[in-house]
């Protein structure tokens, strides 16, 4: 019986040490695979998206510019240059620019993927401390602190995920002029116009049309080609645009 307890204790300790290492290794492997498959010419980089958006903005392509800035912000949410240029382009185009509240800013301070890995680490930390504390009754305070820290990380990650979830379904109008129809056919009656660079929420899809909702709550069907999702559904890089 005693031997069993000792074995169990050692096993839990071993797992506590191994799991974080596995997590770090998994993350490193993921990054290495990303770098190997996308050395430089493909994939998304915040700086490349930002530079591309700048070029679009200089050319007067408001829609692609805002799309580029939005995508860059996903990868570098704390980059002041990206945020400043996004606000500038929106203001120049007369588009609404809703400021984020402090809670949202806190939750989206770091990159989503970084927070996701931190949350994963927090989960391991909390879980392991909950398990190991049963063998070290005299160090309850230490393990309680570890559990709390881990839970805090998990809560932050979940909060970040909840905050950015709506952006997964957001799209930017990239055509000069876009009409919202009452039904998903070209011949359907147009209900309102969308401005280039306007950010909308995609609610449904039907063939070549998507049902969008504007920031003021108006809904209508818009041709799919006139929009671009901020988070593309495939892993392909953004469609190329002519640059000057």
């Amino acid at each position: 019986m005693k031997l069993f307890k000792i074995l169990t204790r050692r096993l839990v300790l071993l797992a506590a040490l191994t799991l974080p290492i596995c997590l770090v290794t998994a993350q490193a492997t993921t990054r290495a695979q990303t770098s190997a498959s996308n050395p430089a010419t493909s994939g998304y980089s915040a700086a490349a998206l930002f530079n591309q958006a700048n070029a679009d903005a200089r050319k007067g392509k408001t829609g692609p510019a805002i799309l580029g800035y939005e995508r860059a912000l996903l990868l570098a949410p704390n980059d002041a240059d990206i945020a400043a240029n996004l606000h500038f382009v929106r203001a120049k185009a007369g588009l609404p620019d809703t400021p984020e509240n402090w809670f949202t800013r806190v939750l989206t301070y770091a990159r989503p993927n970084t927070l996701a890995w931190l949350g994963s680490f927090g989960l391991v930390l909390a879980g392991m401390s909950l398990l190991v504390r049963r063998f070290y009754a005299q160090q309850q305070l230490v393990f309680s602190s570890l559990t709390f820290s881990g839970a805090l990380l998990v809560a932050t990650a979940i909060g970040n995920a909840i905050t950015i979830w709506p952006r997964v379904n957001e799209a930017v109008v990239i055509s000069r002029e876009s009409a919202a129809h009452i039904s998903p056919v070209s011949a359907a009656e147009s209900t309102f116009k969308l401005r280039e660079g306007e950010t909308v929420t995609v609610r449904a899809e039907h063939q070549d049309f998507v049902l969008v909702q504007t920031s003021v709550g108006r809904s209508g069907w818009v041709a799919r080609a006139e929009l671009a999702l901020i988070v593309p559904q495939s892993g392909n890089p953004a469609p190329s645009t002519n640059r000057t």
């Binding site: 169990t8 430089a40 994939g43 980089s45 070029a55 995508r71 997964v168 953004a238």
Partner: protein, 621 residues
């Protein structure tokens, strides 16, 4: 008199006619030559064949015959010369050669002195620039305006009306680096009606900045055709590292002859080809139509490198190029409390929008103000120039004061290294301040914090980033990727399982009575099994001993005592005379052990049922 004169004229005319006829009779046969303006064309394109017959005889020119080629006469010219009564005529007929298929064609010799002409027709649509035969030479386009630029290929449109090309200084760039480029668009006068927009880049990895709307205009000749060449000087910047192919394109409106006018079946008289192309005649005959086309340059392969990480100075702000710095103070003698202007000049060529300087920070003996910056371009493209940083500084202590050296770091793409330029320290003689001025100045400057020089960007946008950072395959955060959700679910499940397992173990460890009961049940089960084995073997001693042991376990658990302490006396004492069957089993066990009593199979069965009946409440233990 009049009759004699008329007779003389008639005789002279008859003699001249005889002489002309005689001269014609003895004249050499006309020489016929042919030439093609090009030897290599694409299917769908056409070449021009000019057949010239010269001599004193009649020149009857007929088109050659070549299977697969169609010859359409588009123009004819004639010249007559009369020297000493010998009349020489030169007649040229121009045919448009339209291939019906791709391949190698040979146009037969039209005379003994001429040679067959070869024409290669390719299936591609690209039109060759180099002309063949004795009509054309190499491109006479002038070299790029920018010294040292490599010439790009000239890529004519299918109808030869225009071309576009990009002239790059080199094929390897760094991210953030700006390089001067020339964009040339050649327009054939009379064929291109209008330029419908500025040149644009095809490719999302480069930006073309400061493209002027007023290009330089020059004249050039390509393949014997005149072109008006528009040249834009601009600056190309790379957005991200990698290998890329870069082209430029420009929308045009060209004038095309309509089919009926383009292929006249009859010679058009004396108009030669150059005159025929004149827009006046095209408009006059009314056979033109306009068409929107896009002229595209040849692809240029470019390699964009990321800036190296090793050796990057701490103060590197992203400037890429070649720069020089120097600094100066507005005066070398001042009084404490009087403001001075410290100037840092950065000159050179590169991405000036990333050129900044932290200037002076906290410095003992000095008060510093926030610096400002101003850029003056040395060229239209803004590639070279001078950026001036100015900072107001105030000496607070009298004596010989020194403004320390200012540094500026950048990446030099020529040396492929980071370089840091440093100015010389500046000395200033500071006299004692007039009463009250120092305190006032110090108070006004107390809230000044050193910060990078500010320069409002011309287009309102913050400049490009030069550090590309890491790339990701998808923009979808890993929260919403199945593999991540799955792995986290496994983790949660694993921890939950471990937690429940340990909790149960702890609970079972804390429940001593329960453990004892479980041990007793296990022992009773074991005894019952031994009873069965003993009955099968006909061993009454073992049978009753096992039965007694089973009952001892059951009673010991109920009374919370050791099984060995359960005796007949204990049973009597606790059961107050009840439990006769139990006492009987105990007695038989003793008896069988010492007497060797034989028990029948039926008795074994009966005793087993008796013992099981007594053990039945065991579950209630």
């Amino acid at each position: 008199m009049k009759t004699a004169f008329v007779r003389f004229i008639s005789q002279a005319a008859a003699l001249a006619a005889v002489l002309i006829v005689a001269a014609n009779a003895f004249a050499a046969p006309p020489a016929v030559t042919a030439r093609l303006d090009r030897a290599d064309i694409a299917l769908g394109d056409s070449a021009k064949l000019t057949i010239t017959a010269s001599g004193s005889g009649n020149a009857a020119i007929s088109p050659p015959v070549a299977p697969g080629l169609e010859f359409v006469a588009v123009g004819q010219s004639s010249q007559y010369q009369s020297i000493n009564g010998v009349v020489t005529s030169t007649t040229s007929v121009t045919y448009e050669v339209i291939p019906q298929r791709a391949g190698q064609f040979s146009i037969q010799a039209l005379s003994q002195r001429s040679k067959p002409l070869a024409l290669n027709v390719r299936s591609g649509s690209r039109r060759s620039v180099a002309a063949a035969g004795n009509n054309a030479g190499p491109s006479s386009l002038p070299p790029p305006a920018t010294s040292g630029l490599a010439a790009g290929d000239t890529h004519l449109t299918q109808d030869g009306s225009a071309f576009a090309r990009l002239l790059l200084p080199r094929r390897e760039l760094y991210v953030g680096e700006t390089v001067p480029v020339d964009i040339q668009v050649g327009l054939r006068p009379g064929l291109v009606a209008s330029l419908n927009g500025l040149p644009t880049l095809n490719g999302d990895s480069f930006t073309l900045n400061r493209l002027s709307s007023q290009p330089e205009q020059t004249q050039a000749t390509i393949a014997g055709k005149p072109y008006t060449v528009l040249t834009w000087h601009s600056v190309l910047a790379a957005v991200k590292p990698g290998d890329f192919s870069l082209t430029i394109e420009t929308p045009l409106t060209v004038q095309m002859r309509t089919a009926s006018q383009r292929r006249p079946r009859m010679p058009r008289g004396f108009f030669d080809d150059s005159v025929f192309d004149d827009p006046f005649f095209q408009s006059f005959f009314g056979g033109t139509t306009e068409k929107q086309i896009t002229v595209t340059s040849e692809p240029d392969a470019l390699k964009v490198l990321a800036l190296p990480v090793a050796g990057r100075p701490a103060g590197f702000s992203g400037a890429v190029g070649k720069f020089e710095v120097n600094s100066e103070l507005s005066t070398t003698k001042t009084a404490a409390g009087d403001p001075l202007t410290l100037r840092l000049k950065v000159t050179g060529a590169g991405n000036f929008d990333r050129v900044n300087s932290a200037m002076l920070g906290e410095l003992d003996g000095w008060k510093t103000y926030r610096p400002t910056a101003k850029f003056e371009a040395a060229d239209n493209a803004g590639y070279g120039g001078e950026k001036d940083f100015e900072q107001a500084v105030i000496p607070t202590q009298p004596g010989q004061q020194t403004v320390p050296a200012l540094t500026f770091s950048f990446f030099n793409p020529e040396t492929r290294r980071f370089e840091t330029k440093q100015t010389a320290p500046l000395s200033v003689e500071v006299s004692i301040a007039p009463a009250g001025s120092l305190a006032k100045t110090a108070a006004s400057a107390s809230n000044v914090s050193p910060a990078p020089a500010s320069e409002s960007p011309r287009d309102g946008l913050r400049p490009d980033h030069v550090e590309t950072g890491s790339t990701v395959a998808t923009l979808r955060p890993i929260y919403f990727q199945p593999w991540f959700v799955g792995s986290q679910s496994v983790l949660v499940l694993g921890f939950a399982t471990g937690f429940v397992f340990l909790r149960r173990r702890e609970r079972s460890g804390n429940d001593a009575d329960g453990a004892r009961r479980r041990e007793a049940m296990s022992a009773i089960d074991h005894c019952l099994a031994e009873m069965d084995a003993a009955s099968a073997a006909g061993d009454p001693t073992h049978f009753f001993q096992s039965a007694r042991a089973a009952l001892q376990e059951k009673l010991a658990t109920r009374w919370n005592v050791a099984p060995a302490s359960i005796t007949i006396a204990e049973i009597d004492a606790r059961l107050n005379g009840d439990g006769a069957e139990i006492r009987r089993v105990f007695a038989l066990a003793d008896h069988a052990a010492y007497s060797g009593q034989h028990t029948s199979t039926a008795d074994f069965q009966q005793w087993k049922e008796t013992v099981r009946a007594q053990l039945k409440p065991t579950e209630e233990l």
